[in-house]
Point group: C2
Chain length 387, copies 2
């Protein structure tokens, strides 16, 4: 009797939510669950940012902001590109959004018509394909593996691009794999897309979180691509729902109209808070946290390999291991369930990131203190040994 | 060369933004502009709510919340329906969103397939038709006038419903007209939609702002409709980007999947702040502000009629007059420009709300103190007299 949008046949739930609910039930029963399943830093927002948010609230910054964000923040982001990367990105092209989520909706909303195809990685951030579906486009989920560090290649562009394709979307560092595209690789992908008359979208949400080398931006390569970013991960502001995107000039008008109509504006107190995100004091806090992530990564990796997980491409960024568990378990979803029920360790099954070899992979987030991560590894070790 | 989504041909900018930019330029030049163009209360968020938001930030509530909102807020909203309207709405069916904007996207995302039609009023809230376009549906903009208080009627449903129609969307009180549907009218619209196998969506964003009688809810009539609401208007939290929606049980799973993927979650500090929105102290503040809106309305209306504006249907809610200016000006956009340039009064041209008789209507928001509103009326009076 009722109408359900046809797209709902293609929109998957987050399977990890079921595990999360079960984890909470176990905790309520007094079990000590270790959380390595959520795509969120365990740090709260730096105090400097929180204080700026509080000051904004106290001074009555509670009304709508301009649709593309307050000018001060757009300028601050522009300055950030100059200071950190030596790249000129005029504030005019910077669009402040409700998280990278809002940015993805706007970028794809400006590009995707009914039936348009968008090239994505499988595994990849699952919401991407659902944004495309929401816009009545067709996500093309390209199986990627260790050979290409789980990233798209120019060969993929050549093979999968059709006359319906409008864009390719990559993330660097990526979720769930943490792998990074080199500037040369981004350049070739950009050229390959441009050659086809399409657009490259680069999701740099994990930009600040690289280990062993300094972050980069695709904006150093070209002004003719969409760059997605966010205050969620490096800046540890997930709950504030604030991100941004850099838009090619030709799309500014389109993105403005979409932003006005779909969102009215991004959250105002969050924007004033984020003005404190680029100050030296805040950057110092964030860099020390980045250092902690690097240490955790170094400590946890050997422990995981010891258990029998395989990590085919070293994650150079984000805070995830995408681990092959084929020598440990028949099925990664069953493993995730087992780990939770018997070892009280929560991890995310591969199915949440696509379908390509999903049942032999899991994602493990190092979003807890090192000693807790190692305790989790020990629990998993025991669980696997017991069979 | 580049791809632009086809939908962009149908997505209009907010024309008032141009006027707003010009208003700011005039202000920068030292002119005293009176703002009656923005759909936003002039009050900042009540201190009780701000304080709850600050307390949340101080206690580290900066992470992602559950996709449908924190359980405490869903419970508080459920309790609000019980206390205020005597209606049972289980927290399970309450979905917290990024403003009514987020709610509209989710409701329509769950209903509208490519090519689906949605019945809307013209004039009406312009974003509605753009949400439908974004989802590749077809908005059916039904011309409405004073006869039906600018609202949809069962006759409209009978006339415009086709086998592609999935829903009708009404707002009560409405933007831009401020008119209210009676419970009996909502009941007939609901039945007419249900009879056609479709769904009624009722946008109650201006619910708390009625003058001369107590607010109502469509949820008293049926559980089988979508109700949109927001903390933006009555609760004066526009910049926080927080709203909610009540979903029929059958759509909960669909809406959950969409919410997880499109938004991850609504803003967290805002949700904790909103817990203070339903306390007696806050309600007292809000009710006194409602009283102020009622007084402004009573003071401004005769002044507008005096100038020669016609108000064909008395607005019983929201904070707008939708005024017919055919006896004053050739074209409402030109009038709005003139009013700004020569009288420093900012108002919104009809074109921002649709195309039906748009050029003979303007929207005037009473979002300034009474003496300022009356000063604006005087300036307009002079302007018109000068011709
Ligand atoms: C690759 C990637 N892009 C975008 C997002 C969206 O994040 P947000 O909307 O919080 O900025 C996420 C969140 O996990 C992500 O992993
Ligand atoms: C009728 C109506 N619905 C929805 C909205 C969206 O408001 P928000 O997203 O701030 O809750 C507005 C804003 O003006 C409106 O007038």
């Amino acid at each position: 009797m009722s109408h359900f949008a046809e797209r709902l046949n293609h929109i998957a739930p987050f399977h990890v939510m079921e595990l999360l609910a079960r984890a909470k039930a176990l905790q309520a029963d007094g079990h000590d669950v270790i959380h390595m399943e959520i795509g969120e830093p365990d740090f709260t927002t730096p105090a400097t940012i929180v204080e700026a948010g509080i000051a904004a609230l106290q001074s009555g910054k509670t009304g709508y902001s301009p649709a593309l964000g307050i000018p001060e923040l757009r300028e601050a982001i522009s300055q950030f590109y100059k200071d950190k990367f030596g790249v000129n990105v005029p504030a005019r092209r910077i669009v402040v959004t409700a998280g990278a989520s809002g940015a993805l909706m706007l970028a794809l909303g400006a590009l995707v018509s009914s039936g348009s195809e968008v090239l994505l990685t499988d595994p990849g951030y699952p919401c991407n394909r659902h944004f495309v579906r929401t816009l009545e486009g067709t996500p093309i989920n390209i199986p990627v593996g260790p050979d290409s560090k789980y990233q798209l290649t120019v060969e993929d562009i050549a093979q999968y691009w059709t006359d319906k394709t409008v864009a390719a979307l990559v993330a660097s560092p990526a979720n769930p794999t943490g792998t990074v595209l080199s500037q040369a690789e981004i350049q070739s992908l950009h050229q390959a897309c441009a050659h086809k008359g399409g657009t490259l979208i680069v999701d740099e949400i994990y930009q600040g979180l690289t280990y062993g080398f300094e972050p980069q931006t695709a904006l150093a390569i070209s002004d003719d691509l969409f760059v997605i970013n966010s205050f969620s991960k490096y800046f540890q502001m997930t709950g504030w729902r604030l991100g941004w995107m850099v838009v090619p000039d030709a799309y500014l008008d389109a993105v403005t109209r979409l932003a006005q109509n779909l969102f009215i504006a991004p959250p105002t107190p969050a924007q004033y808070a984020a003005l404190a995100a680029f100050t030296p004091t805040t950057i110092e806090i964030l860099e020390s946290r980045r250092h902690i992530f690097a240490e955790r990564k170094a400590a946890l990796k050997p422990a995981l390999l010891d258990i029998g997980f395989q990590i085919h491409a070293d994650p150079q960024g984000a805070f995830y291991f995408y681990a092959d568990c084929q020598h440990i378990a028949e099925d990664s979803y069953a493993l995730a369930k087992n780990a939770l029920e018997k070892a009280y360790v929560a991890i995310t099954p591969g199915i949440d990131f696509g379908s390509h070899l999903a049942s032999q992979h899991i994602r493990i987030a190092y979003t807890a203190e090192t000693n807790i991560l190692l305790a989790a590894a020990e629990r998993l070790q025991k669980l696997i040994k017991q069979g």
